[in-house]
């Protein structure tokens, strides 16, 4: 097997030799990619699909996490190349160790929704670090031309093409990118492409029923506990929800069913100490937002941003439940949420296929 090799960008005038894999790491320099793994470094991941074809590479690795996380482990590259080059997988997505209050948008929305839709237990569908085969690159080139890693429909394209998918523990704890953006922008960025994907792939995700786990590579992930546990204060979250309930109820009423609105009304009456957002209500609410997005019941940007107070209500409820719980309990809690999303999928499918204002 040929070893991946480093090629300096300065020597770009000479035609480049075929390579095993390319690596795109926008937050790193070639020097920061450590030995012993030699690889072809592509600074910008935007042309990666083209480069794979040009260089006849067998695949590529995308490392989008902040430099501080990536520079920790020398075996990151090997962790990502192994499933693609040696095990024949087409997509290996990072699965990270993180704290119970990390990646909450993923925990609340992206993971359970993607799992229910595509029937695969991919814990970080929007992971910044992943590797993929040239086969997947070809699929994307044909079906989603112009798509770029970190912004492309990699997971859904892989599922649609029936390609093999696995998860990889990259060997470092997940770190969020330090972007100065407000929460509603983050939510809109996370959900907008997901909802748009649902429209494109409706015939795909409506076929799958129960979800299946995917093969795992690397060390087992674990829940990272804080150095010093502290009390959680959800009062601000509950206040944010209360404010949203007072001012945005009419906006939500355009999207949400009477049953969900009634659940929110009951939620708004709860004291912070009893604040519980039932999984069934949250699931139904997320599905109804997806339906509202599809039916263009209002400006999509407004719709996604109006979810913010509701999401904060979920966070408050989740925090209250798990802040003193053991890691097993946290895992089971999240698993319960995912199962509720799966159990509620018939509701989503029926309303997707038969839009009707007269629904419960």
């Amino acid at each position: 097997m040929a070893q991946p090799s480093i090629v300096s960008e300065a020597a770009s005038s000479a035609p480049l030799a075929p390579v095993e894999m390319l690596v795109a790491a926008p937050n790193l320099t070639p020097e920061e990619i450590r030995a012993p793994a030699h690889l072809d470094f592509v600074h910008s991941p935007d042309n990666l699909l083209e480069e794979i074809q040009t260089r006849q590479a067998r695949g590529a690795i995308v490392l989008g996490s902040p430099a501080s996380a990536l520079s920790g482990s020398p075996s990151i590259i090997a962790n990502f190349t192994h499933p693609i080059l040696e095990q024949g997988f087409d997509l290996a997505i990072g699965r990270y160790s993180e704290g119970r209050f990390d990646g909450l948008i993923n925990k609340a929305l992206v993971y359970p929704l993607t799992r229910a839709l595509y029937g695969l237990q991919i814990h970080y569908p929007s992971a910044l670090d992943f590797s993929f085969s040239s086969k997947l690159a070809d699929v994307l080139t044909v079906n989603a031309p112009g798509s770029t890693p970190l912004r492309g429909p990699f997971l859904s394209a892989a599922v649609a093409a029936g390609l093999r998918i696995c998860e990889v523990n990259p060997g470092f704890a997940r770190e969020a990118p330090k972007e100065a953006r407000d929460l509603s922008s983050l939510l809109a960025d996370a959900l907008g492409p997901l909802f748009a994907d649902m429209e494109r792939n409706a015939s795909l995700w409506q076929r799958s029923r129960a979800s299946q786990p995917v093969p795992q590579f690397g060390a087992a992930v674990e829940l990272i506990e804080p150095e010093q546990p502290s009390d959680v204060d959800i009062s601000k979250l509950v206040d944010a929800f209360a404010r949203g309930y007072k001012d945005l109820f009419e906006v939500w009423a355009q999207v949400l069913s009477p049953r969900t609105l009634l659940d929110l009304k009951k939620l708004a009456r709860l004291a912070p100490t009893d604040f519980r957002f039932p999984d069934e209500s949250w699931t139904r609410l997320v599905y109804e937002f997806a339906l509202g997005h599809r039916q263009r019941l209002m400006s999509r940007e407004h719709l996604l941003r109006s979810l913010t107070p509701l999401y904060l209500a979920w966070v408050a409820s989740y925090a209250l439940e798990v802040h003193e719980a053991s890691s097993d309990v946290v895992d089971r809690r999240l698993e319960r949420l995912c199962l509720t999303f799966e159990a509620g999928k018939p509701y989503l499918v029926s309303r997707w296929r038969w839009p009707d204002r007269f629904n419960p």
Binding site: L186, S230, D247, R305, T308, A319
Partner: protein, 233 residues
């Protein structure tokens, strides 16, 4: 003397009859044009109704927030309203064309002035419609944005923005129509300024502490304040 009176009366009568006879062809033309207009209007309305129903115009209007038209014309759907506007516009146009056929200085001037005024009228209507749509869009965006930024006066901001845009659109429409002139400009400037001042006072004086705390938060924390304990990404 009686002969002179008779002669004068005869001459007047002749003038009237001559005048009437001279505009008779024009009147006939007016009647014919009006009849054609009725026919054209009815046909166009039928065509319009079929096409608008085909594209589900009523429910689209409702989705875009124009269900509020039910306040103005509760018995009529958007499709019916459009049909009625088109119908009477064609009748009006037919009347103007027929009036032009009368070929008298008065009617000619009237028709010319009407046609000169028409583009301004259409522009004014377009401004009002666009202003209405924009006002709703912006006010909802302000409401959602304000709530997400924990601004206590989000609803007030939203209503203020809506009325600002509506007042602006109305002022521009009236300006296009040339109605009121400087007085209307002044009145709208005062109204506009008044709304802005009221918002500023309500926000500034009424919630001084809240604003300062809110601004503090905006400048010192660019990521949501909950990030201390909860990391969303």
């Amino acid at each position: 003397m009686w002969d002179e009176i008779q002669h004068a009366l005869n001459q007047s009568a002749m003038r009237v009859l001559t005048g009437a006879a001279s505009i008779l062809p024009g009147l006939l033309a007016l009647v014919i044009v009006l009849l054609f207009s009725f026919g054209a209007a009815a046909f166009l309305c039928w065509l319009l109704r079929r096409s608008l129903q085909g594209i589900d115009f009523d429910s689209r209007m409702a989705r875009w927030g124009l269900a509020g038209m039910s306040n103005v014309a509760p018995s009529y759907s958007p499709t019916q309203l459009v049909m009625r506007v088109v119908f009477w516009s064609i009748i009006g146009l037919g009347f103007l064309l027929g009036a032009a056929a009368l070929d008298t200085p008065l009617t000619t001037q009237m028709v010319r002035q009407t046609f000169e005024f028409l583009p301004n009228l259409l522009a004014a209507i377009a401004l009002l419609i666009a202003g209405n749509l924009l006002a709703r869009f912006l006010s909802r965006g302000a409401l959602i944005g304000g709530v997400n930024m924990n601004v206590p006066y989000a609803r007030l901001l939203s209503v203020g923005i809506k009325w600002l845009v509506l007042v602006l659109a109305a002022a521009m429409a009236l300006d296009h129509l040339g109605i009121g002139g400087k007085i209307v400009d002044l009145a709208f400037a005062i109204l506009f300024g008044g709304i802005v001042l009221a918002l500023a006072l309500a926000v500034g004086l009424g919630s001084k502490d809240l604003v300062s705390r809110s601004l503090e938060r905006q400048t010192s924390r660019v990521i949501d304040e909950h990030e201390e304990q909860f990391r969303h990404v």
